[in-house]
Symmetry: C2
Subunit: 156 residues, 2 copies
């Protein structure tokens, strides 16, 4: 008798179906992948802006402390951010934001604060709101952000 082969589950035609209805979902999902580097960039420029405001300059060690990574990781990432035009820096000097980088930082900080305030308004504890906002901030579209602001204005 022929070996049983076939998996142990099926019981339905399967296959051939998913081809069109899923493509919409695919775009939502595939996006989320490559965007990792962009999220990192956002956290960096925001941290750099904060450090400059708070201490006058952004140094590698300070960024490493703020971001919770080693100075090596910061150093290499700064190289990438410079290549992408968000910062400029010279060896052993502190780091500066370019116009583009500063603009991104402003945008990120704004989103960060809106998300945090929104979660707080919903009754989430400060610590949790801060933690969740740190991740959520990178995924709120302008439309959703507007909805958050509208809610805040209505429940101020």
């Amino acid at each position: 008798m022929p070996a049983v082969r076939r998996s142990t589950a099926p019981s339905q035609p399967a296959s051939s179906a998913p081809t069109r209805s899923t493509s919409a979902q695919a775009s939502s999902l595939s996006k989320a992948r490559q965007d990792n580097a962009r999220e990192i960039a956002e956290d960096y420029v925001e941290a750099i802006a904060d450090l400059i405001t708070l201490t006058g300059e952004a140094r590698v060690v300070d960024l490493a402390r703020t971001l919770g990574v080693t100075h090596v990781t910061v150093s290499r990432t700064i190289t990438r951010l410079q290549r992408q035009g968000f910062v400029r820096s010279e060896p052993y000097r502190s780091i500066f934001l370019t116009e583009s980088g500063a603009a991104l930082a402003r945008d990120c900080k704004s989103r960060h604060e809106t998300v945090t305030a929104f979660l707080r308004a919903l009754g989430v504890r400060r610590e949790t709101a801060e933690r969740d906002a740190e991740g959520i901030e990178h995924h709120v579209s302008d439309e959703t952000l507007a909805a958050f602001l509208k809610f805040l204005h209505a429940n101020g």
Copy 2:
């Protein structure tokens, strides 16, 4: 005269300050890094569960379409998920969720739906809600999720 050295910005003591106040923030941020693989895992198990429900089985090609990546990427990721105990699969066969994987899938799907419904309730358009939820779902803590649900019940 001694070369000018020093960067072109400062004007403040700088340094030495950020060391304690930043550590809280660091934990929020450092988290967001390594968690990338976990987010991917969540999207995979959720997609696998959906495919099994919809078509009876989850095959590599279907996953590739759903997730918007090539079958090669899916294949390798499945290997990792198997190593981590979320799925089991044999060469050329369809993919199954383990108990652990199924549990994670249920949790993710639940979060996904709650976030989507919440955004919809806030007035965000369906398409935008779907897209944003796909990213936000991975960053919502139990506490925040509870706040979302509370809002939904109050504004059902």
